[in-house]
């Protein structure tokens, strides 16, 4: 029985967010929402993370950084874009320096809309992400067996 989904570790990256979504992400770890009951840990290190949580849009300066961090996460991994800006670029979309949502540089699996995204919806997104994480893990295992 795979228990991999019981230990999803998060990496939270702030693209060019107004910090509204960031506050809500951190609110998830407080006693009120307590995501740790799902085994979620907010790590600071891509090497240890399973779920990449991005807030804010992508600009030309952080595009490389996001790509690099994504590369440094070991498989299986899930990317969640939190908030409207991370999903599409939001109200900053037309700015000269903004490239758009997180999916302009890396593949995004789950989109959590909202400005700012509510903690409940973030948790909802994470739970969906965890399910996907399990699926990906099983797929990875199967492909390894096939090789």
């Amino acid at each position: 029985m795979s228990t991999i989904h019981k230990s999803p570790w998060l990496l939270h990256y702030d693209g060019s967010s107004c910090n509204g979504c960031d506050i809500e992400v951190l609110a998830c770890t407080t006693p009120v929402y307590d995501v740790e009951r799902f085994g979620v840990i907010n790590t600071g290190n891509p090497m240890h993370a399973d779920i990449f949580l991005i807030t804010g849009g992508i600009n030309s300066q952080n595009a490389d950084v996001v790509k690099q961090i994504y590369e440094q996460m070991p498989q299986p991994k899930v990317v969640i874009a939190v908030g409207t800006c991370a999903c599409t670029g939001g109200i900053f979309k037309e700015c000269y320096n903004i490239k758009g949502g997180a999916d302009t540089v890396i593949p995004v699996d789950i989109y959590v809309p909202g400005c700012a995204a509510r903690p409940e919806s973030i948790i909802d997104g994470v739970v969906k992400g965890v399910a996907l994480f399990k699926e990906k893990a099983e797929a990875l295992k199967a492909s390894e067996k096939a090789n």
Binding site: N45, P46, M47, N62, D64, V65, V66, Q68, I69, E71, Q72, P74
Partner: protein, 648 residues
């Protein structure tokens, strides 16, 4: 046997003439190699002969004893004149006073003092065996290394200096002769003569480059060592005037017989003087300054004199007199100074980044541990002390040579510049690693000795000394671990530099590889060593044989030993084939494509430097050195007053 010993002492002195007069570089090198080869063969042959003959303690004289006595007297006066001349030449005339006073004291007593019974001047026992092997083998290997090193030193790096290689190599041979003489002597007058020669060669070699710093440091070394010489001279004076003997063993036996009761402190007086002399020679606090200053000398002389052999003369003498120091004031003084030095020097070693200085501090610190062991004066501690002497000689000489070779190759001996040495010069790095591992890791030599020493210190009878010593050892071990590990981690890290040409000469490698092989052989052979060399040694000194370390622990040590070699090897082989995706290290996503550069605030790539911790505000030289000197001076003065005051 007498012939062999005579050859061992006299040959190096005579051989020194050859490099001194031959100025053709190739030809001189050949004679130095030959000389070193002869010294190795001779010392090993002598040792083996004596061992096979059953290892009986021998008391004997050189042939033509009277002639040699005359030579020694003349030699003493010559050294005095030399020192006086040089110190006036460099406007440090005060120092010559020390030399004049002590030489005249000894010479005067010899002429006008009471007639002494003629006793054999030399002695050969187990401790001598260990010492001649160290001097002969380790010393000669350094001699071989010196030829290549000095070539690179003058040709590649220090073109501005006058080439005085002939003088340098000649001095090394003089030094061999003096050391052999020192460890064979049982007459204090003989020992005093050889002792002074080592002081003077050390002085001359430190001043080799004749730069201002070198001259200042060499005179510092000179006055401290001469102060020690005064100690021996005083011991000779007391011996002649009070006990009518200058025989080291008579003095030791008198001190042991008359025990520790307060009104017989007079018997301890010569022992205290000798111990004082030994402390200066072994560069214990407060006399550590000269050894640090001595690091300006070219590396072979640092390796030979200031780490592998000459400073061992001090601990050699302490081991000799240790039986007379068990549980009395002198022993307490020596133990406290040693323990304190062990801790203080290892703290100071944390705060320096110059590789040679780290080695100098660690030499002082390890000598401190040995000195502490001798001050305790029990069988276990002597066992540990001799072990430490052997291991330290080999691994430290290897480390010095390696740092010297690194400096010649990369142009820097700073630890910070050794980042990723493993990737650039793997051969040098491996030698350095073996040396460092030998200095502190389980289960290498140091550790076995530390185990035994700690046990013995707990059992020491004086409550204060025992508690303090245990604390010194525990804290000193921690700080020792710190500075070695951070050096090791520097070597193993990745390096941004490309592989470049290794400028190390073949003969330097020969010497270093021999050392590495010896190191490994010593580690593997330590149960044998303990059984066949150290046991008879302790039986000789204490008349009892004690199993210092239980068989169970020997087995554990062997398991650990196998572990240290085998576990990483197995793991290396097992993980070699494992699939891994290469990634760059995490720098907040700001790497510029590799692990060495990051995107700076201006958007340009900038090289990242990783530096070790040096803790200058806690362990710095500025902060600790002076207090350490003061505390240790205080300890010495208090105990000397007790002993001297009690004697009269």
């Amino acid at each position: 046997m007498e012939m062999l010993v005579t050859a061992l002492i006299c040959l190096p002195f005579l051989w020194a003439i050859l490099p001194a007069v031959i100025h053709n570089s190739k030809c001189r090198a050949f004679f130095v190699y030959l000389g070193c080869g002869i010294v190795i063969v001779l010392s090993v042959f002598t040792a083996v002969q004596w061992y096979l003959a059953g290892g009986q303690t021998l008391n004997f004289d050189l042939p033509y004893r009277e002639a040699f006595d005359g030579v020694i007297l003349f030699g003493d006066l010559f050294l005095m004149c030399l020192i006086t001349y040089l110190s006036f030449k460099y406007k440090k005339g005060v120092i010559s006073l020390l030399a004049i006073v002590q030489t005249l004291l000894v010479a005067g007593l010899e002429f006008f003092g009471p007639e002494l019974e003629e006793l054999p001047a030399l002695r050969f026992d187990w401790l001598t065996l260990v010492m001649i092997l160290i001097i002969g083998v380790v010393g000669s290997l350094i001699g071989i290394y010196a030829v290549g090193y000095m070539h690179g030193y003058h040709i590649h790096h220090h073109k501005e200096l006058t080439d005085r290689r002939s003088f340098f190599l000649a001095m090394i041979f003089v030094f061999f002769g003096a050391m052999f003489g020192l460890v064979f002597s049982q007459s204090l007058i003989w020992m005093y003569f050889f002792w002074e020669i080592t002081s003077v060669t050390s002085f001359l070699l430190i001043g080799y480059t004749r730069s201002e710093e070198a001259i200042n440091n060499s005179f510092k070394a000179l006055w401290m060592n001469l102060l020690g010489g005064c100690g021996i001279a005083a011991a000779i004076a007391v011996g002649i005037l009070a006990f009518n003997t200058v025989n080291l063993y008579d003095i030791i036996n008198l001190a042991i017989e008359h025990g520790t009761s307060a009104h017989t402190l007079i018997f301890l007086l010569p022992i205290a003087c000798l111990a004082f002399a030994a402390l200066t020679k072994s560069a214990q606090f407060p006399f550590s300054g000269w050894l640090l200053g001595a690091m300006v000398a070219p590396t072979p002389s640092s390796a030979l004199l200031h780490s592998a052999t000459m400073v061992k003369a001090g601990v050699y003498l302490l081991i000799r007199i240790s039986a007379a120091m068990a549980d009395n004031y002198v022993g307490n003084m020596v133990a406290l100074i040693g323990g304190f030095t062990f801790l203080a020097a290892s703290c100071l070693a944390i705060s320096v980044s110059d590789g040679k200085k780290v080695l100098a501090y660690s030499t002082i610190s390890n000598l401190g541990l040995i000195v502490a062991c001798t001050g305790c004066g029990y069988e276990e501690t002597i066992w540990a002390a001799v072990f430490l002497v052997i291991f330290h000689a080999v691994s430290k000489s290897m480390l010095f040579q390696c740092v010297g070779a690194i400096e010649n190759t990369t142009g820097s001996r700073d630890v910070e510049d050794m980042q990723g040495l493993m990737a650039i010069f793997p051969k040098l790095a491996i030698i350095l690693m073996i040396g460092i591992a030998g200095m502190f890791l389980a289960p290498f030599g140091m550790l076995i000795s530390k185990w035994a020493a700690l046990k013995a210190f707990i059992d020491t009878s004086s409550v204060y000394v025992s508690s303090l010593m245990v604390l010194f050892i525990c804290f000193g071990s921690a700080t020792t671990m710190f500075y070695w590990t951070k050096w090791m981690s520097k070597i193993l890290g990745a390096s941004p530099r490309e592989k470049s040409r290794d400028l190390t000469k073949k003969n330097e490698y020969i010497s270093m590889f021999f050392h590495a092989i010896m190191m490994v052989a010593l580690i593997l052979g330590f149960p044998w060593l303990s059984e066949h060399i150290l046991k008879p040694l302790s039986e000789d000194m204490f008349g009892v044989v004690k199993q210092v370390i239980s068989y169970q622990n020997i087995i554990i040590m062997i398991v650990l030993l196998v572990g240290v070699f085998v576990i990483p090897c197995i793991n290396y082989v097992m993980t070699k084939g494992s699939k891994a995706k290469q990634v760059i290290t995490y720098m907040g996503g700001a790497n510029v494509g590799d692990n060495f550069n990051f995107v700076s605030a201006t958007g340009d790539p900038k090289e990242m430097h990783i530096a070790n911790f040096y803790m200058e505000d806690i362990m710095g030289e500025k902060k600790l050195f002076t207090p350490a000197i003061m505390i240790s001076t205080f300890i010495i003065i208090v105990y000397m007053i007790i002993v001297v005051g009690g004697a009269f």
